[in-house]
Symmetry: C2
């Protein structure tokens, strides 16, 4: 039932957006009773929270290739593959639409905290190996590498092929080393 309700939430979100998301509609799509959803999940915020947790935790293992460059390239390819999936697009643009003061903001903060906590060990391992100076801002580095892919997909529709992704990694690593910027 969890899978059916998640799929129904994604479908409802894709069709109606957050503002039009209704528990009744999700229940009908999933073929379960509305009261079951309220009892097992709660309201629509809880449905989206559940999706976000599933997305943050999603299948793919954190890359561990032995180099920061290899790890970040594999990680950013994973992110790219996830972003082009319609279900994730609906979910992430729902969060983006929310803005810092919306009722979704709390959910968004939890989602992004989990995502970054999961990714940060790539950078920490590189510091341990001496590839990066201690004191690097791991989150900023990840934002700088992943950001162009995210913007490319959600904004202008840039072709985010493997060469573009690898360029993101190499340019940010070389530029960070050359400038000493964090």
């Amino acid at each position: 039932m969890t899978a059916a309700v998640r799929a129904a939430t994604v479908a409802a979100l894709t069709e109606h957006g957050w503002n039009g998301l209704a528990v009744e509609d999700v229940a009908a799509r999933a073929g379960v009773n509305k009261t079951t959803i309220y009892r097992r999940w709660g309201g629509r915020e809880a449905l989206v929270a559940d999706l976000l947790l599933a997305a943050a935790d999603q299948g793919t293992a954190l890359p561990d290739t032995g180099t920061l460059r290899g790890d970040l390239a594999a990680f950013t390819r994973q992110v790219r593959d996830a972003l082009v999936a319609p279900a994730n697009r609906a979910l992430l643009s729902t969060l983006a639409a929310g803005g810092p003061d919306s009722s979704l903001a709390e959910l968004g903060r939890g989602y992004w905290a989990a995502r970054f906590a999961r990714a940060r060990p790539m950078v920490e391992r590189a510091v341990d190996r001496g590839e990066l100076a201690a004191g690097v801002d791991a989150d900023a580095l990840i934002v700088r590498v992943v950001g162009p892919v995210w913007f490319g997909v959600f904004g202008p529709g840039t072709a985010v092929d493997d060469a573009f992704v690898e360029g993101c990694v190499e340019i940010v690593l070389a530029g960070t080393a050359a400038t000493g910027r964090r």
Copy 2:
């Protein structure tokens, strides 16, 4: 009347999202007749298209500081300032939610084409001055510089202060020069 209808469209979009955007609601908020909107603009796609054109063309002149670094820093600060405004957040996340096959896709393509056409001269002038190799991919460079700011604002809520913005510019310019990547 144009300003009132634009403001009403932004307000309706912020409250209901694209899926819930209704011409009737925009008309009521703007205090004009629904038929006037249909006659002067067309349907809701035309209302959003009008907003996008206004946003793409928006006030701020393209920076011309004499260096690519200075131009990109000023430009990216302008983008940052625009992104944190709630009206633009509603608009851009509406486009992002659309996906390449939605009814909004055509509008989005026009908007981004206009934005990049407007920004590209910064890079072309730098090539003319010999700051960048001819054959650089201007759009990719802009995506790499602006992307982390965009992702930071719409995603994890990164503090995109001036130091972060300047870091985006310097890291990408130094990394592009060092790697020869486009």
